[in-house]
């Protein structure tokens, strides 16, 4: 099954993990300490986030750190910006129409 960024943000625990890692890279153990869920559950979420490519694994010595990958979230931002611009432009056209009504 192909993962994408929408699966990443679909779950509240995964959103919380992303919020944590947006501040700085962490080891899996450090991430798990922030949650009441079992380590295994947190690992599963980390795995999904990595498959969605919003997290990137980096090894430093014997430790693995997970980093947030903002690039992957950009595709949503680009579309939202287009959608916002479209509404803004249409509303400006509506102003002109209302002036003539």
């Amino acid at each position: 099954m192909r993962r994408d960024v929408f699966q990443a943000i679909a779950d509240p625990t995964r959103r919380a993990i992303l919020t944590l890692l947006a501040v700085g890279a962490m080891t899996p153990n450090a991430i798990a300490e922030h949650f009441d869920s079992t380590r295994q559950t947190v690992s599963k979420h980390i795995q999904i986030l990595t498959e969605c490519e919003v997290l990137v694994q980096k090894k430093s010595g014997r430790e693995i750190h997970y980093h947030f990958n903002p690039e992957k979230m950009k595709e949503i931002d680009i579309w939202l910006e287009r959608f916002r611009k479209m509404w803004e432009t249409s509303f400006n056209q509506l102003d002109d129409l209302l002036n003539d009504l």
């Binding site: 929408f6 595709e75 479209m86 509303f91 509506l94 102003d95 009504l101």
Partner: protein, 164 residues
């Protein structure tokens, strides 16, 4: 005069909030949102044009229009009215369409609720909430904008938007 355009997204809640003020009484804004010949004058960002196919402003009625590009490309917008309070509320359920404008009835849906209100000084305001049924819906919205074949059209739109 400031128009207080607000566009806020809450992806976790699968919602987009859009509000805007207008320097016109709410009755006129309502007409501009509900009369096909008026809707066509503003809803498509130029040089795109809107062409209404169906506008049945009743609960359960259909609203369908095409956004037509300068090279004849068409994006269909298809919605069913789920609530109407004359002069104050319009709710619709949106569906995706194939290239010929046929709605994909078992596909993902989106919902839009718009409230119209009066402001002091003969002014008015619209507040819209767009809700995506699930992450698959918002995903389809995004992919529609990136899909091969429509990319060229959106490039045109980008140029248009960049020039403004």
């Amino acid at each position: 005069m400031t128009n207080n355009f607000v566009f806020e997204t809450d992806l976790a809640a699968k919602k987009i909030y859009i509000s805007r003020e207008f320097n016109a009484p709410v009755e006129k804004v309502w007409r501009a949102w509900t009369e096909p010949d008026l809707i066509e004058k503003w809803i498509a960002p130029k040089p795109w044009k809107a062409e209404t196919k169906i506008m049945d402003l009743t609960v359960g009625g259909i609203w369908q229009y095409a956004m037509v590009g300068t090279e004849g490309q068409r994006f269909w917008v298809y919605a069913v009215f789920t609530a109407i309070e004359k002069g104050s509320v319009i709710s619709t359920m949106g569906m995706f369409c194939d290239g010929d404008g046929n709605p994909v009835t078992d596909g993902p849906k989106s919902y839009r609720d718009t409230k119209f209100s009066s402001l002091e000084g003969n002014r008015s305001k619209t507040d819209s909430v767009i809700t995506f049924e699930d992450e698959a819906t918002i995903k389809m919205f995004v992919e529609t904008g990136f899909k091969e074949g429509t990319t060229a059209s959106f490039d045109n739109l980008d140029k248009l938007l960049a020039s403004e």
